[in-house]
Symmetry: C2
Subunit: 153 residues, 2 copies
């Protein structure tokens, strides 16, 4: 057993408490991203629970509170690398601030314009009929629906 595998196994154990977590390692591997302390810690924060929507700033704060030493630059790097590796996806709801969603499956969002709260729409509760053709020389990448709500009163 190489040192590498040993180390990974240890980190894996520490992070996991036995839950299935290896897919993060796999994704990182496929994306040729080394499983560093920072990446694994952020992955843990992000992917422990199913459905999260964070900004870089938020995640950085959260990491700090959790005692994880990681720079804001690394948080940005990691969010983008994870997005490329399909561990996250970006959601655009506000100009001037990027949100990242831990749910990478096809789904849509409700965005509270007063509070900045962002949440997923269960796939069964929304449906659209999209007929327009993609303009000449383009192909549809994805269709995004944002239901914008306001707080009452």
């Amino acid at each position: 057993m190489t040192l590498y595998i040993q180390a990974i196994a240890i980190i894996y154990k520490i992070m996991n408490d036995g839950r299935p977590y290896s897919y993060v390692l796999e994704r990182l591997k496929t994306a040729r991203l080394r499983p560093t302390r920072q990446r694994l810690a952020l992955a843990k924060l992000l992917l422990e629970t199913d459905d999260r929507h964070v900004t870089a700033e938020q995640l950085h704060c959260e990491a700090s509170s959790a005692g994880i030493k990681v720079s804001l630059a690394t948080v940005y790097n990691t969010l983008h690398q994870f997005t490329k590796a399909d561990l996250l996806r970006e959601v655009v709801v506000e100009s001037g601030r990027a949100y990242f969603d831990t749910n990478t499956s096809e789904h849509h969002h409700i965005f509270n314009q007063d509070t900045g709260e962002l949440c997923d729409i269960p796939d069964e509760t929304i449906s659209v009929l999209v007929l327009p053709d993609a303009p000449e020389g383009t192909k549809i990448d994805r269709v995004e629906i944002i239901v914008r709500v306001k707080s009452l009163r």
Copy 2:
């Protein structure tokens, strides 16, 4: 006839070449915005043609090229005031850059992620069939659909 009305009439004539333009003045009036040189010139640029999508920077350049003396700050102010006055609406398609749409009626967008090009979807070719309930304590403000496309090759 007061001086105000005279002045407006003259400006109106200059800007209009006879086309119906008074609704801009009306909207400005209702919004308690004075019909200044800058506002009227920007309104002309924006609302002469039906369907435009601009960023502040773009509009500022365009104004400069057209010989209109207006600061970037005023362009920003004007875009936001016009949006409040329902002469424009904001479209969020990229985090980090705000687009403004001269078409304020209910409709959706196609966004080319490679070129940054944004265009309207004719309302007949898309429709929302099922909508989720707004979360407790909120009400739906609007539903936005963005069809993201990529350039081929």
